[in-house]
Amino acid sequence: MAPLLSVIDMTHYFGGLCAVNNFNLAIEPGQIKGLIGPNGAGKTTVFNLITGVYTPTEGTIELMGKNIKGLETHRIASMGLGRTFQNLALWRHMNVLDHIRMAHYSQLSYGLFGAFFGTPKCREQEDQVIDNSYKLLQLFDVKQFATQNIGNLPYGAQRRVEMARAMATKPKVLFLDEPTAGMTPDELIRMIEIIRQVHRDFGVAIFLIEHRMKFVMELCESIQTLVFGEVIAEGPPEEIQNNPEVIEAYLGKEDVH
């Protein structure tokens, strides 16, 4: 059987600069995979390429056997590829509940006419969306903020809202771009629990970028290390941790005097 998400030989150039070279990825249902690498290695570019923000110069990307290369971002997202952003991408004038409601956009079928006149079909679907949104808010422990403006929330809660929002799109694969950036150690432990919970309850496959080794080691079954757009090592966490090339990329070469 074909994997849930498969990326084969994905290469992308920004002008003459090769940002990502021959990137390969296969995610099976229910897997958690990690992507690590020093700053500027092209990790977020990999995310943006797969989610359709950029179209890769070469290579194929398939989600559940269907080609998604070149499709618009919102199409890819509604096919089952959810994501969060490295520097929170929230809607600053919206309240928390509306954030989650918004993410149900592609699941609504009442159309503009229904929205204009508030038809029974529209109301029924909107009520369903609100119910579902409250469930998600509860699950991510941000229900108490439901009617608050997103800007009033503490950082950790904002991160959780972003996760809840991504889950509202009903993804099959969830992309997390540095989910613990800027978090305190307490929040970090909580985040690990939440990701485990999402993984368990929704059965979603997860692909994450992360800098904190502890976090990656805890969660991921397999890790890829990206350096200057190329994967230099791939394997289970213990192997990657002791891989001399990875250590070199992160810490530099050991000079022998």
Partner: protein, 423 residues
């Protein structure tokens, strides 16, 4: 002291205020002439006496006294004294479906407006133009507030609607110099007028695609310039089309835009735009405004959303334009120029972005202020911008921004405390 005063009044529900307003209008209708005679006023003050006060400062006390006797006292007294009764009524209505309660309130409000405006034709005109301004402001708020673009082409959309519907009514229902004999029985006119306005709106919506499509790639200043260009294109196109009157404009449109017609269209506009902006479809506008990549990743079709915002806003601008043409019964291209644009923009930004409440407040206050300060002539254009600047300093997003219209909350009985509290 002031706080106490407001606390005493806080138990009056909307129905109570409406009853108070009704009393005030009745007093003016039957006793207005008498009261103004004894206060040495030449006639019943048209717009709360502002015109008289500015023209003849000596009559200021009389005009104020008139306002006190005819409006303020009856509204406050009747509103407060009958508050228990009206609260009971409001509680009764609260148990009925929301639409029924809303329609009853609207009909009552229309009754007051009708009687108040019935005193003379000038009031009718001011009320009609104010209601059209409300439609325009809310529709521009869709693009500039909810969608967060800066579109300057609203008078252009309005012109498209005005000319399209004028052409249709003149062609179909009127015997005039421009298009000759009426093609249809003029008796059908008032009944088909909604269709004509709808077509006017559609023409404006189609025209808006010229601005909507560039908005896929650009926003901010650049889109503002493109939309400004669109405004001038429309204006000079109409000026050079001799078939629809060129710079002389079009006149003698049939008198279809009566007070109830304009009122119904305004209510319809508020209702539909409220439905839209509170649905997920409408919230998508906010999502695209606040963070477009995030909206895209959350399955929102950003192109469709932008196009919807522009076409929807332009549609209502077109309807407003059609009403405008049939209220004044004369249009010419120079009406839809930069001054109109400034007026609408002022209403939107004064009232508040992303808010229907705000738009209503903005449209009403700027249009009434504009009329009230008319005797000051040029100084009007100093005072209104000054107020605008003050609002921008103290409330950068406008008076009432980012608030949803909550009809139920507005109409609720006020005699018992709610657990959720106020604003």
């Amino acid at each position: 002291m002031i706080k106490k005063f407001f606390r005493i009044l806080s138990v009056v529900p909307l129905a109570g205020w409406l009853l108070g307003g009704f009393t005030a209008v009745l007093i003016e209708y039957y006793l207005g002439d008498l009261i103004s005679y004894y206060l040495y006023l030449p006639k019943v003050p048209v717009l709360f006496g502002t015109l008289i006060m500015l023209k003849e400062p000596l009559l200021i006390p009389s005009a104020l006294a008139y306002n006190l006797i005819v409006y303020i006292l009856p509204i406050l007294l009747v509103g407060r004294l009958l508050a228990p009764v009206m609260n009971g009524l409001a509680a009764l209505l609260e148990k009925r479906p929301l639409w029924l309660a809303t329609i009853i309130h609207l009909v009552a409000f229309y009754g007051i407006l009708h009687m108040w405006a019935g005193i003379n034709d000038y009031r009718v005109l001011v009320v009609k133009l104010t209601m059209i301004a409300i439609i325009l402001t809310i529709s521009l708020n869709i693009i500039n507030g909810y969608q967060g673009e800066f579109s300057c082409s609203h008078p252009g959309f309005m012109a498209l609607g005005a000319y399209a519907s004028s052409t249709l009514t003149l062609l179909l229902f009127a015997n005039d110099k421009m298009f000759g004999e009426a093609l249809l029985n003029p008796a059908l006119g008032p009944w088909l007028f909604p269709v004509v306005l709808f077509i006017g709106g559609l023409v404006a919506a189609l025209g808006s695609l010229i601005v909507a499509i560039p908005s896929f790639r650009t926003r901010g200043d650049y889109l503002a310039i493109i939309s400004l260009a669109f405004l001038f294109i429309v204006k000079s196109a109409i000026e050079n089309l001799e078939i629809i009157g060129g710079p002389r404009g079009m006149s003698s449109q049939p008198n279809y835009a009566t007070l109830p017609v304009v009122f119904i269209w305004m209510s319809l506009c508020i209702w539909i735009i409220h439905n839209f902006t509170t649905s997920v479809m409408g919230k998508a506008l906010n999502a695209v405004r606040d963070n477009e990549p995030a909206a895209n990743s959350m399955t929102v079709n950003t192109r469709k959303t932008k196009m919807t915002a522009f076409m929807f806003g332009a549609f209502w601008a077109g309807v407003a334009g059609g009403l405008f043409a049939h209220v004044l019964r004369y249009v010419n291209p120079s009406t839809f120029g930069l001054q109109k644009l400034a007026e609408i923009l002022a209403m939107v930004y004064f009232g508040g972005l992303n808010s229907i409440y705000g738009s209503i407040v903005g449209a009403v206050s700027i249009s009434v202020l504009g009329e009230a300060l008319r005797p000051l002539q040029l100084f009007k254009w100093i005072i209104i911008p000054l107020i605008l600047i003050l609002v921008m300093i103290f409330r950068p997003h406008g008076l009432i921004s980012f608030t949803e219209l909550n009809v139920k909350e507005v109409m609720r009985p006020r005699n018992k405390e709610r657990s959720e509290g106020g604003e």
